[in-house]
Every structure is written in C-alpha cells, then in structure tokens.
C-alpha cells in the first residue's frame, strides 16, 4: 500500500535554505528542539517566580512583592510548570524527538501538522507571557482557576489576566491535539519492519499512552475554558451562582462552581499521568541501559502503563473531598485512587528489580534515574495519605499537599527530564555533556529537593495553610517561620545551581567530547542511526529492520554486553534469556 512509498519519499526532499531547515522546519528533530528550548525557557520564568514567592515566605518583612503579585506569581508558576513546561517538554520535546527514531520511522506521519503544533504552542506561550503586561497583570486565581473567585473583582487579574490565561490554554490544547494525533498515529501505523508493539522501548509506550490520554483529557479543560470565557465576557452563568461581591449583587445566577471543579479535575488528574507516564517510560530505559540489564517484567511494565492511563480517568474527584461534593462520592474515589497504587507499585518494584544484581554504571543519567525512584516513592506514599478522605480533610490546603505534589509530579518528572537530557544529548548534538558538572548538578538538585520538601510535610502537619501570602498568625509557631527561612535559602541555592546545567548544555554543544553514534552501548533503534545527529529522514536509504526487543543487555553467550535491535537473531539459538510472545 501507500505505506512504503510515503514512508520513504521524505528522504528525498531535504530542504536547503536555513529558514526552511531550522525555523519553518517540518523535521521532527528540529521541532523537538524548538519545543524543548521554548519549554525550558518558559520554565525558567516559572522558576524565577517561585524564587520570588519563596523570598516573600522566608523573609516576610522584605516587602519585595505585594500580596497581589504573590498570588499572580503562584498561579503562573503552577500553570507554567504543569502545562507549558512538563507537558510540552515530554510530549512535544521528547515525544517528537524519540518516537520516530525509536519505532524506526522517517518522520512523524504528518510533518506539516507537526510544525503547526509547535507554532500554536509558541503562540500560546506568547499569549500567556502577554498576561504580565495587560491591565492588572496575570490572573491570581491559583493554578486551578476556580470560579467564582477567578472572575470576581478582588482577585488579581479578574478581567484581562484570566482571559489571556484561558485563551492561551485553548490555543495550547489545539497545539497538543495536533501533536497528539501525530504521536499516536506514528506509533500505531508507521513502525519499521519487525517493530511490533511489544518490541517498542518503554519510552515509546509511556509517551504513546500519555498522548492518547492528552487527546481525551484536554477536551475537559477546553470546555471549562470556553464556558469560563463566556461567563467572564458575555455574562453567562455556567459557573457563577447568585453572588454578592464587594458589596454588590453580581449579574449571575444559578450556575455551578462545582461543575468547573469536575471539568477541571477530569482534565487535571489525567494530566498528572500525562506528565508521569512519559517519565516512567524514559526512566525505565535509563535504568535498563545504565544497569546493563534487561528491564524486569517488560510485559507487566507495558500493562501497568496502560492500566494507570485507564484508571486515571476515574479518580478525579479525590481533589474535591473538601469542596462540598456528595460524601458518598468520596468512598468511590478513595477506592479507585488506592487501586492505582497497585500498577504503580508494580512499576517501582520492577525498576528496583532491574537494578538488582545489575552491572550498575553510576553515570549522570543513572544517578538521576535512581533519584527519581526514591523521590517518586516518597511522593507516592504521601499520596496514600491524601487519597483517603478522613486523612485528606485535615491535611487539605496545607503545605503537606504542596510537598506531596511537588515531590511526586514536580521534582520526580524533572529529575527524569534531567537524566534523559544527559542521556540523549549525545544523539542530538553528537557531543557528550560534561560528567563532573553533571555530578555536581545532580547532588545539589537531589539533596536540595529533600531539604526543600521534607520540611514542608512537617509544616503541613503543623497546620500551615498553603496559598497564604503571610503567616503572621498566632497558631503558626516561630519554628515554622524558621523552617520557612531555611527552605527559602535552599530553594534559591538550588534554583541558582540550575545555571550549571544550562551552562553545561551550552558549553558541551560547542566544546563537549565527541560522542560517536552510541556512547552508552544502548540497544534501541535511535542509537543505530547511520549519522549522529541523525540526518533528514533518519535512516539513509533503507529503513532499519528490527529483530528483537530493546532490552538485550548481557545476553549469555553474546560477544558484547548488548545486542542492538537491528541485529538478526541466529537461526538455531533457542532461548535468549528473555521471553517474547509475539514471535
């Protein structure tokens, strides 16, 4: 069918001009870098915002920012980190770069749509940044944007700020849809000869399932955004009940604020896993490669990803235990939440069992991968606390929650991002990143994380509420103020230390040690490209042929400690030390 012809035809149309090659590019590798650079850039803005907030919390008398700015920065920090950094970086950055290379395709199936996806994403980022310059500044509604307060006078940015935020989100969703369609169809329909679904690296599985989830979860945010735009501009009452604000009866009646919360979290909870599943996939490949051992329980790992993705659509209301929802809902959602712990625990055990008796190389990617496992376990365990209604109610809206989600979906995926960048950087640039700087960066980031977030658990149990500008209350003891100051000092140091990473990336691109095509002796397809960095069309004249799964490390009797996926299987060799059902 049209398959082979269209798959191979891309190779012959390499654009020559600079603009077509690097700016209006349809090459998935260039688009991936564009996505990644934009996401990291906007992430740095969010990092600076968090530093400003921490200065206020640690040194309340400094008067650096006022209360309005605090809420605005908090909102922007949360939304940028979750949506514009992590989602965009995992799907648009890693997904774009790795999917075609790992499944053996020449490019994404719809290169033009892929290019549009990036430019819509950039537009959404620009609209979001524009909200800093509209009258009254960005919205200060908190990253969950709950109505009525999000569009009620008294909240910072209740007119223009919230509008730019919602419009930016809608544009982002269009971009994510165009990207997601590409990723899903490429994985399903454009694999190399011999590449079955059960031979794909777990990275591809994680991003694939996350992309499907994005296509099904973002519609909820889209609908919520449309309704809130109508509420704030046309004066409809989807989310607005009859309400008196600032002593005045507002022109709304009969709407349901709870409806927004349901829509938001029907998006919001899958969103956690849209970020987490790619991280699970990437870290599986890092661990296997750097422990020189096949991933433990590959089939279980795949099914755990699929089951987590499925279940995550049935747990959203555990974010709403204190919002006035019918109490018996809590019973259902607590159970479904705890059930998700089962496939998640399977994954954690399998990572640990992959390390067990492995030939562990403490490279920088491996350090970050192990850091991820530890951090994810800590963050996951506090999730069990918050998943239970009776424990959640006293802990809701305290720093315990802040500590929990920063551990589990903030820092843990970011550690994977760092590890994955150190791991795949040689493929993207042809040069290694500096190992020593990488080690320093890892230890500061990893230890700093615990110095920042462990005390926050304690503060939460102490009853310190989140989202407060100032803690000048009797029930907050002096020890909490001291801890806040400590956290701020560490947070600023860790924030500044990220300069090491940026410097390492920039310096290594020019001066880094030349890496060759496969510096980690890895098995998966992206390391077997004829050129490094891979050329336009990725594979030269012939598509690669795949003969085995991606985890043939230390196979008994093999001449090397790894066998690339492209290596044909000897005809008379029963038993390769692993199980493959498909063949």
């Amino acid at each position: 069918m049209a398959y082979s012809a269209s798959a191979d035809s891309h190779a012959h149309h390499e654009p020559q001009s600079f603009v077509r090659k690097y700016i209006w590019s349809q090459d998935h590798k260039v688009i991936a870098i564009q996505y990644a650079v934009t996401a990291i850039g906007v992430g740095l803005v969010a990092l600076v915002l968090s530093g400003l907030m921490r200065i206020q919390l640690g040194f309340p008398d400094s008067g650096l920012i006022d209360a309005e700015a605090y809420y605005q920065f908090m909102t922007m920090h949360g939304m940028i980190m979750v949506v514009y950094l992590l989602t965009a970086l995992f799907l648009g950055g890693f997904g774009n770069y790795l999917i075609p290379l790992m499944v053996g395709a020449r490019d994404m199936v719809f290169p033009y749509l892929n290019m549009l996806s990036y430019w819509f994403y950039l537009l959404s980022v620009l609209v979001l940044m524009a909200s800093f310059f509209v009258p009254d500044g960005p919205t200060g509604a908190g990253w969950t944007l709950y109505p009525p307060q999000a569009i009620t006078g008294g909240t910072p940015g209740a007119d223009w700020g919230i509008l730019t935020m919602l419009v930016s989100l809608a544009i982002f969703i269009v971009a994510a849809t165009m990207g997601g369609l590409n990723y899903v169809v490429t994985v399903l329909q454009a694999r190399a000869p011999g590449m079955t679904l059960m031979r794909m690296p777990l990275t591809v599985w994680g991003i694939f399932v996350a992309a499907i989830m994005a296509l099904l979860a973002f519609p909820a945010l889209f609908v919520a955004a449309v309704m809130m735009i109508l509420d704030s501009t046309l004066g409809t009452s989807f989310f607005m009940p009859a309400i008196i604000a600032m002593g005045q009866q507002m022109d709304h009646e009969g709407g349901s604020p709870l409806l927004f919360q349901h829509l938001f979290w029907f998006f919001g909870h899958p969103e956690v896993y849209i970020v987490a599943l790619p991280a699970f996939g990437l870290v599986s490949d890092l661990i296997s490669t750097h422990a020189r051992k096949n991933i433990f329980g590959y089939h279980m790992m795949v099914w755990a990803i699929v089951i987590i993705g499925f279940l995550s659509f049935f747990v959203w209301a555990h974010h709403m235990y204190v919002s006035g929802m019918n109490l018996s809902f809590g019973y259902f959602f607590a159970i479904s939440t705890l059930i998700i712990a089962v496939p998640t625990a399977i994954k954690v055990y399998n990572w640990v069992l992959t390390l067990w008796k492995g030939d562990i190389h403490f490279t920088v990617p491996m350090l970050f991968a192990i850091g991820f496992i530890v951090t994810f376990i800590v963050g996951g365990l506090t999730g069990l606390f918050l998943g239970n209604v009776v424990v959640d109610i006293p802990l809701a809206d305290t720093y315990f929650v802040v500590a929990h989600f920063h551990m589990v979906m903030g820092v843990a995926p970011i550690l994977v991002v760092f590890g994955a960048i150190y791991h795949w950087y040689p493929k993207v640039t042809g040069r290694m990143m500096d190992e020593r700087l990488g080690h320093i960066h890892f230890w500061i980031t990893f230890l700093g994380t615990y110095a920042i977030y462990f005390p926050m658990h304690y503060l939460g149990v102490l009853g310190m509420p989140r989202r407060y500008y100032d803690y000048d209350y009797d029930f907050i003891p002096q020890s909490a103020h001291d801890l806040n100051t400590f956290i701020t000092v560490v947070a600023l140091a860790v924030g500044v230390a990220q300069v090491l990473f940026l410097w390492n990336m920039a310096w290594s691109a020019v001066r880094g040690r030349s890496s060759g095509g496969n510096p980690w002796n890895a098995t998966s397809l992206e390391w077997q490209t004829p050129e490094t960095p891979p050329g336009h069309g990725n594979w030269g004249p012939e598509l690669p042929e795949v003969h085995r799964w991606a985890y043939d490390y230390n196979v008994p009797g093999a001449p090397q400690d790894f066998i690339p996926q492209t290596e044909p299987r000897p005809t008379s060799a029963p038993g390769h030390g692993h199980r493959e059902d498909a063949t």
Binding site: M1, Q189, H547
Partner: protein, 233 residues
C-alpha cells in the same frame, strides 16, 4: 494492498483466513502498522473524532449540570422551538426539518464515497456538492432559528422564559455544532474541487473522500444527541 517488500524480513504478519479474536490479536501483534489497510489520514481522523466526542459529551454534560443547578424554570422546548404554519403551531417542526436535512446529507455523503471508490469522478463530485449544499441549508436554518430566538429576547446572559442557562447552553452548543458543520461544508467543497480536477484519479485513491465522510457522519451523529438531549428533554 499488501505491504511491499515483506519478503525482505521475517514477517510477523500472519496470513489471512483467521477470524475474530485471532485476527484482532494478530493485528495488534504485527509490525509496521496495527491497522492493516488503514491509511495515516484515516487513522488520524478516527482518533481526532474520538477526541472531539469528548468535547461534545462534556458540553452536553455541562448543560445538564447547569440545568439541574439553576433554581429558575427551564423553558418548554417544544413551545420555544414551535413553528407556526397556516395558523397552526407545530412543536419542534423547524428542528425536525433541520434534522431531516442533516440525516439526508449523510445519505448523499455515503453515495459520494461509493461513487468515489467506483472511480466515478463526476457522480462523486456531484454528491459531494449536494452534501455541502444540504449542510449549508442546515446552517442557514440555524441562522433563522437563532434570529427567531434572539427576537424572542433570548440572550446568552438572560432569557425571558426562565433560566438564563437556557440561552447560554443553546448558543454555546448549537454554535459549536454549527461551527463544525460550517467547517465541514468548506472541507467538502475542497474535496469536491479536488475530485473534479481529477486529483484522486491521478493518485489512484479516493480514500480522502471517505475520510471527509467520516467527519461529516460524525457531525450528523453529534446533532442526533444534541437533538435528543437539548430539544426533546
């Protein structure tokens, strides 16, 4: 068409002649493509429609939720959408006509796909244009319906017959659906022009007509649900 150059490698694609679960399993266990004879464009359209289904479902769920929470009376839709013909009031007559037109357009779309696969260029283009015409008629009637309701004082933010959410949900949901139909009309016109110019005769494949058809049938199906949940309930 079979995947070419299959003999170059150990094919994991089992032979035909299997049925039911076996064939499902071997599709998903295969290399290269999971859905054997499905082009990239068609696969993308199916997945996009799945995503769009969630948008419309959540719009309808949102409408039902506010209809439950609003303390004011919901207008009687059969009266609001009645049409007076020769002094008689026919409840929901206009909506019935619109629904009939849209479902008819699904029939003409199916004919266009059929003629496309028979490589009958003129008939395929004719039925595509007919489908687009029916779609445009639907949008025209919707404009009439909107004008009628606006004339009765219904606005997104208020509604003289009761709950303001009635106006809000009506304009939002029918507006979003009408936008889909309008985009569909443009889409069909583009495909019709390509058919007329012989584009698909040269490429040897009329499948893009079927892909456009998928979108069009989806828009019709969504209308059936809007009809059931907004107009009938």
């Amino acid at each position: 068409m079979a995947v070419e150059s299959g003999q170059r490698h150990e094919s994991t694609r089992p032979g035909r002649g299997e049925s039911g679960w076996q064939s499902l399993v071997s599709d998903w266990a295969a290399d290269r493509a999971t859905f054997r004879n499905v082009s990239w464009g068609k696969a993308m359209m199916w997945i996009f429609l799945l995503s769009d289904t969630f948008v419309f479902t959540l719009l309808l769920v949102g409408y039902m939720a506010v209809r439950l929470t609003t303390p004011l009376a919901w207008p009687d839709t059969s009266e609001v959408f009645a049409l007076t013909v020769l002094g008689h009031e026919f409840p929901l007559l206009l909506i019935a006509i619109m629904t009939f037109i849209l479902i008819t357009s699904s029939g003409t779309m199916a004919m266009a796909v059929n003629f496309g696969y028979r490589k009958n260029r003129r008939m395929a283009a004719l039925f595509l244009l007919l489908t687009a015409l029916l779609g445009a008629t639907f949008v025209g009637l919707q404009v009439y319906e909107w004008t009628d309701l606006i004339g009765k004082g219904v606005r997104p933010w208020e509604n003289p017959m009761g709950a303001p959410q009635f106006g809000a949900a009506f304009f939002m949901i029918t507006g979003f659906h009408g936008l889909h139909v309008s985009i569909g009309v443009l889409y069909l016109l583009i495909v019709a022009i390509k058919v007329l110019k012989g584009h698909y005769d040269r490429s040897g494949d009329y499948e893009p007509v079927e892909v456009a058809g998928l979108y069009w049938h989806f828009v019709d199906l969504v209308w059936v649900f809007i009809f059931a949940f907004f107009y009938l309930l």
